[in-house]
Amino acid sequence: MTDKLPPSRPKAITRRQFLVATSASAAASYMLLNRPAWAVTSDMARAGDFGELDATAGDGIDLYLENRDLLIGGQPGQAIAINGSIPGPVIRMTEGKDALIRVHNRLPEATSIHWHGILLPFDMDGVPGISFAGIAAGETFTYRFPVRQNGSYWYHSHSGFQEQRGHYGQLIIDPAKPDPVDYDVEYSVVLSDWTFENPHTVFRNLKTIEGYYNFQRPTLANLDDQMQATGMTLGEVIEKRLSWQRMRMDPTDIADVTGATYTFLMNGKTADENPTFIAEPGQRVRLRIVNASAQTFYDIRIPGVPMTVVQADGQDTKPVETDEFRIAVAETYDVVVTMPDDKAYTLFAEAMDRSGFTRGTLAPREDMSAAIPEQRRRPMLTMADMGMMMKGGMEGMKDMKGMDHASMEKQMPHPTGDELPTENLVNRIEHGPDKHGPSSITMAQSAYRRLDYPGAGLGDDGWRVLTYSQLRALERPPLRRPPTREFDLHLTGNMHKFIWGFDGKKWSESDVIRFQYGERLRINMINDTMMSHPIHLHGMWMDLYAGGNLDTNPRKHTVNVQPSELLTVDITADAPGQWAFHCHLLYHMEAGMFRTVAVVRSLEGGSIDADA
């Protein structure tokens, strides 16, 4: 059982050790798969028993993908295991070297591995249908690319719903130069969500019965609860509920898939299994946290221990101390904590909709644990999530904080090759008439900057919560200049019918979004929906406008766009080829919240259909 990494530096695994390990696991899984179904599960392997491999050492690594029954929280589940486990092994690389990974597909279906957040030639990006044809059953595909960055990332399947079944793992790239982060021990923390249902069934349930997994809806029975939580009178609560009903919206629609079917995992283990991270008092512990969930946003905290965020999406940030942060699906955060004393501390990861949690323990020894915090009340969406300026301007004024007069003027997207402003961007854009058709329900009256907003259900607990406005790049990233072109991209959806897309269209109805090679481009994302969407661009960085400037705004591979948020990213289109660009909520992506991006020589002529 190794749910922890060796202290401080990667242990080199020799090819020989590795071959021995993988053949043993292959043999074991062969026996498992050929056992009758009634066989008892007592000797079935548990999820969470993963190792570590170095893909830039020696002559590369081998990954074996197979269907495997594993005990997940003690119950047998049909997982897709990578080298026998979920999560898959931690893959390490070293910046400046070449990575070599042979992926052996022993599944009865095609598969793929996408290296999330990694800059590489487009044919190595691992998106079936865009970068390559996929890896057919029984085939081996060799990934080879130069490693041009460092930090904490992850990898996962980009085929169908395989990610939901455990096809993911962490990817750590050690820097070529000395690491600016100071730490004594480091641990991988891979958060995920697991369902014993077939993911196709989950998708069908979402498509056919609205609110299928939401068992925290407004009811007569929780009227009193809402009154106590909000301090409103019965009349006010009823009035508020009626106003939501009038809009045909559910303010408790925080998560599409919930603890009603999900088992929440940390390194493949449930809260009961309590993965433990060993650290001596006074030691600085670096936690490399990735949210490999299909759908679940987690709120992470260690009661009694402040966390210093040192990296976001693999990029070094100016250290910022906080008590809690929300990690959107597909984001990675590195935090450093100092063990205060010889006691155990709970690393608590609570699902955003409060329908469940997972946890681990930071402790000086095995078999210790600390109190598990009580789960908080599930949040409800507010009128602010519809971009409404509150009466009296309270909410509006809060939004306008730090906004100067220049940005109050009408800033229109520039049609010429002029340089666009990079600071004090417009704070609020009014919603014109909705032109996005039946696939989009737009309740928002305006879209506005929410960089200071920690997210629904956070910020009122009396402790600090990280927001995007606090993220600052440690050093100015290269290739930054003011953008010369921009466009708006609406994040759209019909929550009632579970239709998701951009600008009211699914991928199969869309055309390719073209970037001109070498250009500096701005995308203003406008979230027309009432849900948060983690938007991921493959192959290129998104420089997030976080209220800073060209020197300090952070680079991200995944940006979380909150309800009614106006969120701006600038991109240097330096990666020729075709790339995926999508919402990283698995069921939104599979529903069509996905685009093909082509980095082309010139923007002349028309765009091609994505689904040709």
């Binding site: 030639p121 190595m124 249908g129 009038r246 919603h431 009632h496 406008i526 020729p576």
Partner: protein, 306 residues
């Protein structure tokens, strides 16, 4: 029992309430700020930028064996034919909901009924084949009953509304007689503000008779699984239809209350009551023939989906 006048007022109020689907969405307030309406999407933005030349950039690693020009050509082409779709976003689904499958017990010597209302669909997000069937047959008396089955093409025309068109097959039977007819159907089905589920259907029979029905229901959640559902179904005729004992105007209604427990989202046993009555000329026709013009039922059944 409701008095005729109160009954009429109630039904008119219900009709008004149920028949006002707001197809449009709320218009935003205007304010002095940029509007999404004036801003370019990616195509407009690209058009405005035609002809600019890219700055020099250090060429990044390219796919093995490809030149930069070849990569650009690839980027501007459709994907190779053997590539799968990256996301299966145009999948078709099929769904069946037994909204009512119930036994109805009368409060007098009238025979009990077996009643059903089922609908299902197959298709994509916007375009679907939709079918609905409802009816009842006498359970502990002579073999008699009636049913209506609509076969429809359905299109999502607004976020909450489907327009549906197709045909209806309706039949009525008793030991002595079997009547049936085909009708053309135009329906508007969806969810109105305040989350009323509504289904309006206009029928033109093969004899040219025009009838209209509207059904509305509302789910009041008592707990996460216990749901109280009031429901109303009203029927109208545009003209007298003597062979069906129907007079023009509102012809009758069913007012139902059901209380279900969702063991699963797809399976909920329930109990309830139904008050069925005729109105207007249709009521007079029935009364003149000595038939009943109203009936109470206690009911129990299952709501399930697959």
């Amino acid at each position: 029992m409701l008095m005729p006048n109160a009954r009429l007022t109630a039904t008119i109020a219900a009709t008004f309430l149920l028949s006002s689907p707001a197809l449009g969405q709320d218009e935003p307030e205007t304010a002095d700020m940029p509007s999404t309406a004036d801003r370019p999407d990616h195509q407009e933005s690209a058009r405005q930028h035609e002809g600019t030349s890219p700055p020099d950039l250090e060429i990044p690693p390219l796919p093995a064996g490809m030149t930069l020009d070849e990569v650009f050509d690839y980027a501007d082409s459709e994907p190779p034919a053997h590539f799968p779709d990256p996301v299966p976003d145009d999948q078709l689904f099929a769904f069946v909901l037994f909204d009512q499958l119930e036994y109805r017990v009368t409060d007098d010597d009238q025979p009990d009924q077996l009643g059903w209302e089922i609908q299902g669909w197959a298709g994509g997000d916007l375009n679907r084949f939709w079918w609905k069937t409802e009816g009842e047959s006498v359970f502990d008396g002579p073999n008699e009953g009636e049913s209506e089955t609509d076969l429809l093409y359905s299109r999502l025309i607004a976020p909450f509304w489907n327009v549906q068109t197709g045909v209806q097959y309706a039949n009525e039977w008793n030991p002595d007689e079997y009547d049936d007819r085909w009708s053309y159907v135009l329906a508007l089905q969806g969810m109105a503000p305040f989350q009323f589920e509504l289904d309006h259907s206009l029928y033109v029979s093969e004899d040219g008779d025009v009838t209209f029905s509207v059904e509305g229901e509302y789910d009041l959640r008592i707990t996460q699984r216990l749901v109280f559902q009031p429901r109303a179904g009203l029927a109208f005729a545009a003209q007298d239809i003597p062979e069906r004992n129907i007079g023009s105007g509102m012809t009758g209604a069913d007012l139902d209350l059901r209380l279900r427990y969702e063991v699963k989202r797809e399976f909920a046993p329930y109990i309830g009551v139904r008050y069925h009555f005729l109105t207007g000329e249709t009521e007079d026709i029935a009364a003149a023939a000595g038939d009943r013009t109203e009936q109470w039922y206690a009911l129990a059944g299952f709501r399930f989906a697959f």
